[in-house]
């Protein structure tokens, strides 16, 4: 039995669209001997952009229900989606701080025989790797150096609001860059690195043209910096850079083709996990150029 165990919160997009991220994460945590326990019957976090914007009570109630599943396990939650992290962390924080709100939400939860107690923490995959596992132990598992120039995309809800989350500086962070560079990849600086991908807050479903315009700006800056690939820690950003990159090309007549990897997939590549298991072949934007670059190196050895 692993020393440490987390309640593994899947969310929606990772498990229902990019299962290679989930697979890579399970392989990585096995190798690190950190336990992941499924949160049986968990739902959508729920999406902060739609539920948080429509009705905060419903949003906090569904999120609190998810929290109670982890409370039953007695484990802190791990999620590798910034949106899920935002919803679950923020709800957990709010119910801690605001007894009135806690009472209100528990009244709703009582309808389905649940009670939020406030006994667990909500944590992000990348932050657990950085703080609990540590770069040193993590580096030991990376056996295949990745010769890639990577545009690191932090996303929004991983670090912000920083006054509540406090993982790293929200304007000039380094945590993800450090996590990426242990694979041998180089995190290239690029303009407006901390800018949003454009998908969040319900904007992608409300006005996809505006979302694509955000994405175009990010992609332009990433390409100008010579990025071979984009690395993210959020399946929604992941989807936006993957599916949204195709949409951006269609809308603006651009020809972006930058491969997209979730950090878990990047680690999978560095651990020698097959590309089949990473399901990168199911991405809209071909990952072949990046994978080919890796082969060039190993082929020459």
């Amino acid at each position: 039995m692993a020393e440490q165990e987390f309640a593994y919160f899947l969310g929606c997009i990772m498990n229902n669209r990019y299962p290679g991220i989930e697979k890579a994460t399970r392989i990585l945590f096995d190798a690190l001997d950190v336990g992941l326990k499924d949160m049986e019957g968990a739902s959508c976090c729920p999406a902060p952009g739609v539920f948080g914007s429509f009705d905060r009570t419903t949003w906090a109630s569904i999120a609190a229900r998810n929290l109670t599943i982890a409370e039953e396990q007695g484990n802190d939650i791990m999620t590798e989606c910034n949106g899920c992290f935002g919803s679950l962390f923020e709800t957990n924080h709010m119910l801690h701080e605001d007894p009135e709100m806690k009472e209100k939400i528990n009244k709703v939860l009582a309808e389905v025989d649940r009670e939020y107690k406030g006994e667990i923490e909500v944590r992000h995959f990348a932050e657990i790797l950085y703080n609990d596992v540590g770069l040193e132990k993590l580096t030991e598992k990376m056996i295949k150096p990745l010769n890639l120039n990577v545009a690191v995309h932090y996303g929004c809800h991983f670090l912000k609001p920083s006054s509540e989350i406090g993982i790293d500086d929200p304007i000039q962070p380094s945590i993800l860059d450090e996590l990426v560079e242990i694979t041998g990849a180089k995190s290239v600086p690029y303009k407006d690195k901390m800018m949003c991908c454009g998908a969040g807050g319900g904007l992608r479903s409300r006005d996809i043209d505006v979302t694509a315009d955000f994405t175009k700006e990010k992609l332009t800056n990433m390409r100008d910096a010579g990025a071979d690939a984009i690395v993210n820690v959020c399946p929604f950003c992941h989807l936006q850079f993957d599916v949204g990159q195709v949409e951006t090309n269609e809308k603006f007549g651009t020809d972006f083709d930058i491969p997209v990897f979730h950090l878990a997939q990047l680690y999978g590549m560095a651990m020698g996990v097959s590309k089949d298991d990473l399901t990168v072949d199911a991405h809209q934007i071909s990952t072949d150029p990046a994978l080919k670059k890796l082969d060039e190196i190993t082929g020459g050895e």
Partner: protein, 304 residues
């Protein structure tokens, strides 16, 4: 002085040169340029005081205003008044709605000068007339009670708008949203489509020198917008997916295949695999009334 001149040019348009002649004549006896500027400032104060009077006797004033302008002795003053007044106008949209009454008179004065105003569309855009009837006095308090107490301490520096990636490409102006919300312009704010252009990226909030929970304000305002029926169809659809499956993005056949291929269960261990868990989610949305809010039909499992 050149600034004033420019303002004069902007607001008095073609009539400008002719007026200028007269003003120089009528000011022959008056002290030189510098003092004139002071005078303008005094005028500005006057205007503000006037607009306070206007509160009480608004209609009376605007009637009185026009004849004044035609008398040539008053001309200089009224001319210099104008830029100040109009400037006051842009602010007043955000200050006190009552001042709008003064603005009305300004507006009607300007109407005949259509020729030049057509080339000034950017300035014209701000000419929304706000009156007491637009104000919901409780709105600010409602926002504060809903968890964004800090809305009250905004001093309108505009750092938020400067940081906003959405504002760079859409009409969304977060500073204005906050101000209008504080003023109680509830209907104006919640019916504004641009409030849905926020991606909740928190760049505004991170930079706010007052530590205001700006994103919470946006969400609370959106909650009121949703209650009033300003919901995007696509958003309702996402809501309906969660009610129907427990997931905003439910599984599809292609992903089931992928999951099987990599050795994961075909369905994730979520509400997809546990019908009882889905019942709980549905119980929650019934308890909060979210199903009614988005118009979810339990029989057809779709949005009405």
């Amino acid at each position: 002085m050149s600034f004033l001149k420019r303002l004069k040019n902007v607001f008095s348009g073609e009539k400008e040169p002719e007026k200028k002649d007269k003003s120089t004549k009528s000011e022959e006896s008056k002290p030189p340029v510098e003092e004139k500027e002071t005078k303008v400032q005094e005028n500005a104060k006057e205007v503000q005081e006037k607009s306070k009077e206007t509160k009480k006797a608004g209609t009376e004033k605007s009637v009185k205003d026009k004849p004044e302008k035609t008398t040539s002795t008053e001309k200089t003053q009224s001319k210099e008044d104008k830029p100040q007044k109009t400037k006051d106008k842009t602010d007043s949209e955000e200050k006190k709605p009552e001042k709008a009454e003064t603005n009305e008179s300004v507006k009607s004065e300007d109407k005949p000068k259509k020729e030049r105003s057509e080339s000034m569309t950017l300035l014209q855009k701000d000419r929304t007339i706000v009156t007491r009837s637009d104000v919901d006095e409780n709105f600010k308090q409602e926002i504060m009670d809903a968890g964004a107490e800090t809305v009250a301490i905004c001093f309108q520096c505009g750092t938020c708008t400067a940081a906003c990636p959405s504002g760079r490409r859409t009409p969304y102006r977060i500073r204005q949203l906050v101000r209008r919300a504080v003023m109680g312009l509830k209907d104006d704010v919640i019916s504004d489509d641009s409030i849905w252009m926020c991606t909740t990226c928190y760049e505004c909030q991170e930079r706010c020198p007052r530590g205001i929970k700006i994103v919470d304000i946006v969400k609370i305002v959106r909650n009121y917008a949703a209650q009033a029926g300003y919901m995007g169809q696509a958003h309702k659809m996402v809501g309906s997916f969660v009610i129907k499956t427990g997931h905003g993005v439910p599984i599809n056949p292609a992903t089931k295949e992928l999951r099987k291929r990599v050795g994961l269960d075909e369905l994730p261990p979520t509400t997809h695999s546990f019908p009882g868990a889905l019942d709980e989610v549905q119980g929650i949305v019934k308890a909060t009334g979210f199903d009614n809010l988005i118009g979810y039909n339990w029989d057809t499992e779709a949005i009405d």
